[in-house]
Symmetry: C2
Subunit: 111 residues, 2 copies
């Protein structure tokens, strides 16, 4: 059943929600570069608490955008890697970034 109606809008809403967390775009930008440990993400993103970082990572993992690998060591070591699905969002976020720049540019031009 091909959808012509609002199931389209519905799926868009769902996918949009996958990257709409307050810190998710930043986390993804970090992981687009390379696989990183939890502590590396904490350092790369100051102002985020462990609790919130954990939550956002869990959601990204649940939605299949990143994968989580635990090394059974003491002390613990956990690595987060972008998945193929997660990589598909790079184009989207880059476009959004460009729109952001065009808005900033327009603002400065106005003054």
């Amino acid at each position: 059943m091909p959808n012509q109606d609002h199931s389209i809008g519905c799926s868009v809403e769902h996918v949009l929600g996958m990257v709409s967390g307050k810190w998710k775009p930043i986390i993804l930008f970090e992981l687009f570069q390379e696989t990183k440990r939890f502590s590396q993400l904490q350092q790369a993103i100051p102002n985020i608490t462990r609790q919130v970082l954990t939550t956002q990572l869990r959601e990204l993992e649940k939605d299949g955008l990143i994968s989580r690998k635990v090394y059974p060591l003491v002390p613990p070591k956990v690595e987060y890697t972008i998945t193929n699905l997660g990589r598909k969002f790079k184009g989207v976020l880059d476009q959004i970034e460009q729109i952001g720049e065009s808005i900033v540019k327009k603002k400065t031009t106005l003054k």
Copy 2:
């Protein structure tokens, strides 16, 4: 000052917020097609209350994605039109829609 740090993530977050309202993508899809009246949007989007539709439209207008034209008539007539800035989001939303489809396809393949 060219930004290498998180002002990038910050602007992305801001732009993302512009389209992250629960109904905003749907509203934009409607207005990508053509200028529409308030009542047309209501009919096109069942399940949305007037209050919420009004709020989302006001936010889209405030962020410059749509423009609002009031015809001083009785009964009132108000038209909403996508702006140039708003049109820039078409590519983003189309990409997101494609990702959504790829996810749905993968799910059915798994079963």
